[in-house]
């Protein structure tokens, strides 16, 4: 069968795919926000000094990181109802992907926090700063620049993982392309466009993230060189 690209079909499906792309972006951003907050919780809970709590959170994070995201999505959506937890596809998807990336981000945070020299903590103690102020004023502002590269990678990562939400019917880009393909028996154009759209968003985002990293470093006065 010869390669045959239909431009009229391409233009027809583009608005639908654009809507799907918006949902993909929404899913990525929402999921990432959830992951950032819960991930910080995971990271801080592992620093409480309460041994059993540290161990428990550690095991949860390892468990989530070591099982496939798509399984977790299925699990929350299809197994949840058996335990009386019936969720909309969007809600289930956000919980699953948010938790999954929270466990990744918690490792990024943990690494960044561990990289803060012990002397910084001791200076806070010597100046009698409260634990809250120690984190908010001294530790986190220094940990953020160290965490940004890892956080940027996972922002692109979560964006590229959103197609997995299509398996439970979240109407994001992949789901839209599948539906178009199934209805028209043409898969070349929708899937090619999906790839292009991902590329068009990922590449500038990666560039923007790098710019943002260096801007943050400068803003915090920790710029290397200038």
């Amino acid at each position: 069968m010869a390669f045959h690209w239909r431009w009229d079909f391409t233009w027809d499906i583009l608005p639908q795919l654009a809507m799907g792309a918006l949902n993909t972006l929404l899913a990525a951003v929402l999921g990432y926000l959830i992951a950032m907050v819960i991930g910080l919780g995971f990271a801080l809970l592992q620093r409480t000094g309460i041994w059993t709590l540290n161990r428990l959170v550690r095991e949860v994070v390892e468990f989530i990181r070591s099982t496939p995201l798509v399984l977790q999505i299925f699990f929350v959506f299809y197994v949840g109802p058996q335990f009386g937890l019936t969720l909309m596809p969007w809600t289930a998807g956000m919980i699953a992907i948010g938790l999954h990336y929270a466990s990744y981000l918690s490792e990024v945070y943990r690494g960044a926090l561990d990289a803060i020299p012990r002397g910084q903590w001791e200076a806070c103690r010597a100046l009698n700063l409260s634990p809250q102020r120690t984190y908010a004023g001294v530790i986190l502002p220094q940990a953020v620049p160290a965490a940004l590269p890892g956080m940027g990678n996972y922002l692109i990562g979560i964006f590229k993982d959103t197609p997995m939400l299509s398996v439970i019917g979240v109407a994001e880009l992949m789901h839209t392309a599948n539906a178009i393909g199934g209805n028209n028996y043409r898969y070349l154009e929708p899937y090619t466009l999906v790839g292009l759209i991902f590329l068009l968003i990922s590449l500038p985002a990666a560039f923007g993230i790098r710019r943002f990293e260096s801007w943050v470093r400068r803003a915090l006065g920790m710029g290397r060189g200038h």
């Binding site: 001791e122 010597a126 009698n128 102020r133 001294v138």
Partner: protein, 274 residues
């Protein structure tokens, strides 16, 4: 020689008799089986300047770190200005201090570290107002004014808007001294504050400490390898050996006529090297 020392010592405010500002009472610190400090007794009078010298591993830095509550003690009690620091009194009995008690007592003590430990994301000024604003609740304008005075005192008013990465080691250490003073401690601890510095900037830091010693009422405990400086500004020098004070006395006596064999060995080793 002795005359010069007496003259310098006389320039500093004399230690006050009466209740000690700092008291270690049979304080023991262990890491596992290693005894770092062995039933240490040490009284420091208000306004007294005490230098702590000794070979590495003799427990001298540990003394400061326990006093700053960076490390917990295993046995004994530390008192600051008459109140137990490591413990609190509840119904006539001493029990381990909780965080609230530690925070209240810790306010009496400041510390300058070997590696400065300035906050790299803040300017010199920012470093000096962080704790006054957030711990003492000082209005920002007042904290800034005081910080400017302190930075001027250490000779760095023109650098106050610079971040630590733009300052030399000697300048960073002077900012660290200003930062500690901004909290108005009664006791100031100096932990080998010149050890990480290039030789040519050690003098500028020692000058600041010398000014503090002679012009301010401050109790100072100083762990140092600068024997000449310890001799010059201290009221008393303590020689630590294997977790104990092997010998102590006025600098003229300890340096001029050490009684303990270990002290003699240590002094001849460091004075030869220096």
């Amino acid at each position: 020689m002795t005359v010069a020392i007496d003259k310098d010592a006389a320039a500093a405010p004399a230690p006050t008799a009466g209740q000690p500002m700092v008291r270690f009472e049979k304080v023991t610190k262990r890491y596992g089986n290693l005894v770092v400090l062995d039933q240490l007794d040490l009284d420091v009078a208000p306004n007294e300047i005490v230098s702590i010298i000794g070979p590495s591993g003799s427990g001298k830095t540990t003394v400061l770190r326990m006093l700053m509550t960076l490390e917990e003690i295993n046995d004994g009690v530390i008192y600051v200005d008459g109140e137990p620091l490591t413990h609190m009194q509840r119904g006539g009995k001493l029990m381990r201090a909780d965080q609230r008690h530690l925070r209240r007592l810790r306010a009496n003590i400041g510390m300058v570290f070997q590696h400065f430990n300035l906050f790299p994301h803040m300017t010199a000024l920012g470093n000096c107002i962080e704790a006054p604003v957030h711990v003492l609740g000082m209005p920002k304008a007042e904290a800034v004014q005081r910080a400017e005075e302190l930075l001027e005192m250490v000779g760095l008013k023109d650098k106050m808007h610079q971040h630590p990465s733009r300052l030399s080691g000697g300048q960073q250490q002077r900012v660290a001294i200003a930062r500690a003073l901004a909290m108005r401690p009664k006791v100031l601890l100096f932990d080998e504050v010149t050890s990480a510095l290039d030789p040519e900037v050690i003098g500028e830091v020692l000058n600041v400490i010398r000014d503090l010693a002679t012009q301010h009422s401050l109790t100072m405990l100083m762990v140092t390898h600068q024997m000449g400086f310890a001799k010059e500004i201290s009221h008393r020098v303590c020689f630590f050996y294997e977790g104990k004070i092997a010998e102590q006395g006025p600098p003229g006596e300890l340096f001029g006529n050490p009684q303990n064999e270990r002290t003699r060995q240590f002094l001849s080793a460091v004075l030869d090297a220096g």
